[in-house]
Symmetry: C2
Subunit: 351 residues, 2 copies
């Protein structure tokens, strides 16, 4: 089993170090780890945020564990050199079209949310976000016109793109509460019209899943009013970016949330995927041992489940984390004083 590890910038290396300790403690057979540079650190060392070598490393691996990218020192660089470009390029180069972002209220942590505890407690949803298309990867540029300089970006989805992410969404719903909410802006966008028509077509293959459609503005409203109504949210790249961050905020403890980005490449043990915490590189606290490594450790659990077929190890990690979260070992993000390493120790202890 080959795992590529990309710690990245800011608190990325700190949280990934703890996830690595957990991984090593599992003593998996024939495990090889490879470490590569991405983001601001890669730009400084190699002149680009995603060096070819890093990309090849991911291509050769069964799965990749990613920390975070983002570096204020790179803010003035042109977009193609900025750290965030690394994650966008990895997603497109590796064909990672399906982003899974579970968000659930953690028992005992409801008071961390700015939502009322009874509302936060009810959250148990999965955002399935398309990750290879939409206005993210359409043609884009600047042109001159009567109104001065104009920036433009082409948004689009075709049936093939929608179908493959819709299948992922419906299959996920089948394993959950069998409800899927497709989010679009079909009252305004042609992209959304094709999206909606294709989702309706795919839904016929999943008669056991209840499908409904919501405009994105209404979804953003419902996510605040009654997030407990959602099971699987299926949506495009741009709306998924917004709604999944909003959902994380509703849960209230972003230091605990993990994500998976999957493509079509099968490995010996499952599907190749890239796994990363929802949180960013948090440059303001980098190097201080204050970051919560739980999101990185839970990303590792998703990796074991989806890419290595090791459901039981994934479950073991998740149970250990739940135990630590319920204990008084809390990081600064949850109002406690435990350091990154102490939280890692506690998870290892509970394992």
């Amino acid at each position: 089993m080959k795992i590529a590890i990309f710690p990245g910038d800011g608190i990325g290396p700190e949280v990934i170090a703890e996830a690595k300790r957990v991984l090593e403690a599992l003593s998996l057979p024939q495990l090889s780890l490879f470490e590569g540079d991405v983001g601001g650190i890669a730009y400084r060392r190699h002149g680009m945020p995603l060096p070819q070598e890093t990309l090849e490393m991911a291509r050769a691996a069964d799965a990749a564990l990613f920390g975070a990218v983002g570096d204020p020192a790179c803010d003035e660089l042109p977009r193609e050199h900025r750290p965030e470009q690394a994650i966008l390029s990895l997603r497109s180069e590796l064909g990672l079209f399906a982003n899974l972002r579970p968000a659930a209220g953690y028992p005992g942590l409801e008071d961390m949310s700015s939502l009322k505890p009874e509302v936060a407690r009810g959250i148990d949803l999965l955002v399935v976000r398309e990750l290879n298309g939409d206005v993210y990867f359409g043609e884009k540029g600047e042109r001159a016109g009567e109104g001065g300089r104009e920036g433009w970006d082409a948004m689009s989805y075709n049936e093939t793109e929608v179908r493959r992410i819709a299948h992922i969404g419906f299959q996920a719903a089948q394993k959950r509460r069998k409800r899927l909410t497709s989010v679009d802006k079909a009252n305004v966008l042609e992209t959304s019209r094709i999206w909606r028509e294709t989702v309706i077509e795919v839904a016929r293959e999943y008669p056991d899943v209840q499908l409904d459609h919501m405009y994105v503005d209404n979804a953003a409203m419902q996510m605040v009013r009654s997030p407990g109504q959602f099971d699987v949210i299926l949506t495009g790249n741009l709306f998924g970016d917004i709604l999944s961050d909003q959902a994380s905020a509703c849960v209230g403890s972003i230091g605990l949330l993990a994500s998976a980005s999957l493509g079509e490449r099968r490995t010996e043990f499952g599907t190749f995927g890239l796994y990363e915490p929802i949180h960013g590189s948090a440059p303001d606290i980098a190097g201080e041992g204050k970051a919560n490594p739980v999101a990185a450790i839970l990303s590792l659990a998703m990796l074991l489940r989806h890419s290595l077929g090791r459901e039981s190890d994934a479950g073991r990690i998740e149970r250990a984390v739940a135990q630590v979260v319920a204990s008084d070992v809390r990081g600064a993000d949850l109002g406690g004083t435990a350091s990154t390493g102490e939280i890692g120790d506690a998870v290892l202890g509970a394992l």
Copy 2:
């Protein structure tokens, strides 16, 4: 003073009727009211959601008061015939490029929000949304390709478009707490890069306003975590659609929120504008006298302020509404039993 009144569909006519009673109670000099059809009712009567006659009525008026459009019976119609098209066409035909959506926690109503009371209480923001551009009004269509049918929409902003809405935003901030947050997705979109560069340029003319920039995903997160941090949010059409609905939900009492859409046309008394409640046509409760008319009445107050230069009448209405909201006269949306007419009576009584 000529006011065009467009009650529209669902609860639109019911809430507008109460706003009209309030307007009549003010006994404005030389007031002429004109009433026109928009939305589903216009489609049924005239075969189109925005008849030419309605548009001409708006063009001839100093201001327009709008109820709501949306009618489930029209769901299967092609987009250009659907009720929502009426509001999109009015915005573009009348050049209403500036949408102002204030959202503030109402004293005594904090418990209506799903946010914790101390969080909801802190909300006092104004979304300034561009309303004539972005992916809403770019070219769009369907084409066939290798991936099957493809829907596409062109997103763009030019400097002229960004400048004029930015001025509105900064001027509004000057009258408020002097903070402006510009929301974009400049790490991905060229449209956003021009947006951000132009906002920075316009900001030089408003050195007393503190400007910051936020990516839309982060803004959606911050709106849940600490909405009290925002004063003016300046953003494009699509992000503004999402964030303003999210902000309304955070406040918790959407039946109380009003909006103004302004253009460049000056009238004898101010700027022509279209005023409407944030809430929709709510077909499920239409005709039952259960709708809260406060948002429509507050929309009238905005109309008096921005289009008719009658600040003191606007303030009078707002004070009367505040008094009613603080009393025990509450509609079903606020957990009470008062009917649409009873709430109207109470506002008239307090006037």
